[in-house]
């Protein structure tokens, strides 16, 4: 499995670049600041996640003054040669193609190129709002079982339709609004309860791996991590929607559902979001990614493509070394501004400046 070749056009700082990583081992990207090390990882990550691993908006990925960015990747997946292409436009939806067939679902991406990413911003998953935690969980669901993408997309679509209806109501529950609202409620209850159940099952599956990863990275088994799913409708969406109906109508949006849920992490009973140190939060952020990566490896039989963006500069040498020891690596791409920790044996070191293709 792996990425053989990536061809970028008008992506971030690159006019045109060709990237050929080591097909099975670790490739380290070096180069002065601003030459595009992280951008290259971002391009690979985009093909797996259909989003920027830095959370940048799509316009930011397109080179200044250009209308579109194009990514073209040759992959080898389960002995199948795949051509994955993405065209990002300033306006309109990005176009993705697999072997020249349009991709309609995130599912096909997850099947083509499963990726795990680590980047310095990951700590916001722990420190920031619940959206980042839901995204982590939903992306893990898709990584472990690509057909989950359809369920997640269904919930999103139903919510968009229900919210549009609530807005049209202007806060008044006429007979017509009520009869249509019932229909969207029923759809949302079915899909939403299913998504919540899938997320809870995933948290249970990941509970031990997260704790193990945390303790290993912290180098201590004194404190342990527990987590719980905080549902906005704990008794199920049927009841939740009924209770929130008045509020939903007033505000013109759906105030309960999987899009309002959160995951709470406790470190020996302390809320890690508000009562833990920056270092503990950073360790948990790494432990979450590591646990998902390990679960994906045992599900898929192979480690997902691993993207490590400047992770070591944030960690002390002990944590860096322990992360490297714990991380099962298939194909791995690393950018780093600091010396590599011991235990990383790069098969290939590439200077990003050399990747820029001579146009012609």
């Amino acid at each position: 499995m792996g990425l053989r070749r990536l061809d970028l056009t008008s992506f971030r700082v690159f006019s045109h670049a060709i990237f050929e990583p080591d097909p099975t081992g670790t490739t380290v990207l070096v180069g002065p600041n601003g030459t595009g090390k992280t951008s290259l990882l971002e391009a690979v990550g985009y093909l797996g996640l259909a989003r920027s691993l830095r959370g940048s908006p799509r316009e930011a990925l397109i080179k200044n003054g250009e209308e579109r960015a194009i990514l073209r990747a040759d992959l080898l997946m389960n002995e199948r040669e795949l051509l994955l292409e993405a065209e990002l436009l300033r306006e309109g939806r990005p176009r993705l193609q697999l072997n020249r067939q349009a991709i309609r679902s995130r599912k096909d991406l997850a099947l083509a190129i499963p990726v795990t990413t680590f980047c310095p911003d990951d700590v916001t998953v722990v420190q920031g709002g619940p959206g980042g935690r839901r995204e982590l969980l939903d992306e893990a669901l898709v990584l472990l079982n690509p057909s989950m993408a359809a369920l997640i997309e269904d919930v999103e679509k139903i919510l968009r339709q229900r919210n549009a209806l609530l807005k049209q109501s202007g806060g008044r529950l006429t007979a017509e609004i009520e009869s249509t609202l019932e229909v969207w409620n029923e759809r949302l209850v079915n899909a939403g309860d299913e998504l919540v159940a899938q997320r809870i099952a995933l948290i249970e599956l990941l509970a031990d791996p997260i704790n193990d990863a945390y303790q290993t990275l912290a180098g201590s088994t004194e404190e342990s991590i527990t987590e719980s799913y905080a549902a906005s409708a704990p008794a199920g969406l049927a009841q939740g929607l009924e209770q929130s109906q008045r509020e939903d109508l007033r505000r013109g949006l759906t105030t309960v559902g999987p899009h309002r849920d959160d995951i709470e992490f406790l470190l020996d009973g302390r809320d890690i979001k508000t009562q833990a140190s920056q270092g503990e939060q950073r360790t948990l952020a790494l432990a979450l990614r590591l646990a998902v990566h390990l679960a994906a490896r045992s599900h898929l039989g192979e480690a997902p493509l691993l993207l490590l963006d400047d992770v070591f500069s944030e960690l002390d040498p002990g944590r860096s070394r322990r992360l490297i020891n714990e991380l099962p690596r298939g194909q791995t791409l690393i950018t780093t501004a600091s010396p590599l920790p011991e235990g990383v044996d790069p098969a290939l070191v590439l200077d990003v400046v050399d990747l820029v293709a001579a146009d012609g």
């Binding site: 057909s147 359809a150 269904d154 679509k157 139903i158 968009r160 339709q161 229900r162 549009a164 209806l165 049209q168 017509e176 609004i177 009869s179 249509t180 019932e182 229909v183 969207w184 029923e186 759809r187």
Partner: protein, 204 residues
């Protein structure tokens, strides 16, 4: 690049569904080249269809002005079963099966709040108005198997079932003549849900 009438024609053609700027240009130049009577025939056909076609007063299928559509006008077709579709083109699809001998009702859309389509924008009242005069016993919900079509079917089922009608939904499943391994898991999952007992029934 182009001016006057040619520019206008290309712009108008470009608004047609499925016609991009390149195709619009190609069709426009083709029309420039063909004999005047061919182009006139096309223009007249467009005017004619707009002037002489309206919706069938019963089922809201397309029909010649002032007349019932061919299906509602066919006295041999049963009036007790109505097949509800989103679009007149869906009637053509169902008719090709040759398996339906009742009448149709065209909703002209599906529930889609994002596009501002609610029950009032659909021809639902017209459907309710047909039930009694035509002695309808069964309604087949033949909307698309996507989110909006399913929501519409659910809405109609809730509306119609309390009236004592048989309300059915078309099954979804696998394409005939296809291979299981090429089926997407959603379709295959639906097909599994809708499986049928094939054991010969024991008649005593």
């Amino acid at each position: 690049m182009y001016t006057g009438s040619l520019r206008r024609l290309i712009d108008e053609l470009g608004r047609l569904p499925g016609v991009g700027p390149k195709s619009a240009q190609r069709i426009a130049f083709y029309l420039l080249k063909v004999p005047t009577e061919d182009a006139t025939r096309l223009a007249e056909a467009i005017i004619d269809v707009k002037e002489n076609t309206e919706l069938c007063p019963t089922c809201l299928n397309v029909a010649d002005r002032g007349e019932l559509c061919p299906i509602c006008g066919d006295a041999r077709r049963s009036t007790t079963t109505i097949c509800v579709v989103e679009d007149p083109r869906d009637i053509v699809a169902v008719e090709r099966t040759g398996q339906f001998h009742g009448r149709y009702h065209v909703l002209h859309g599906a529930l889609n709040p994002l596009e501002g389509t609610g029950p009032d924008q659909l021809k639902v009242k017209e459907l309710l108005g047909r039930l009694e005069p035509e002695g309808v016993e069964e309604i087949i919900l033949c909307t698309n198997p996507n989110l909006e079509g399913e929501a519409t079917a659910l809405y109609l089922a809730r509306l119609l079932a309390p009236l004592g009608l048989i309300v059915t939904r078309i099954a979804s499943g696998l394409p005939v003549g296809g291979d299981l391994e090429y089926a997407d898991e959603l379709t295959l999952g639906r097909a599994l849900e809708g499986r049928r007992n094939v054991a010969p029934s024991e008649e005593n």
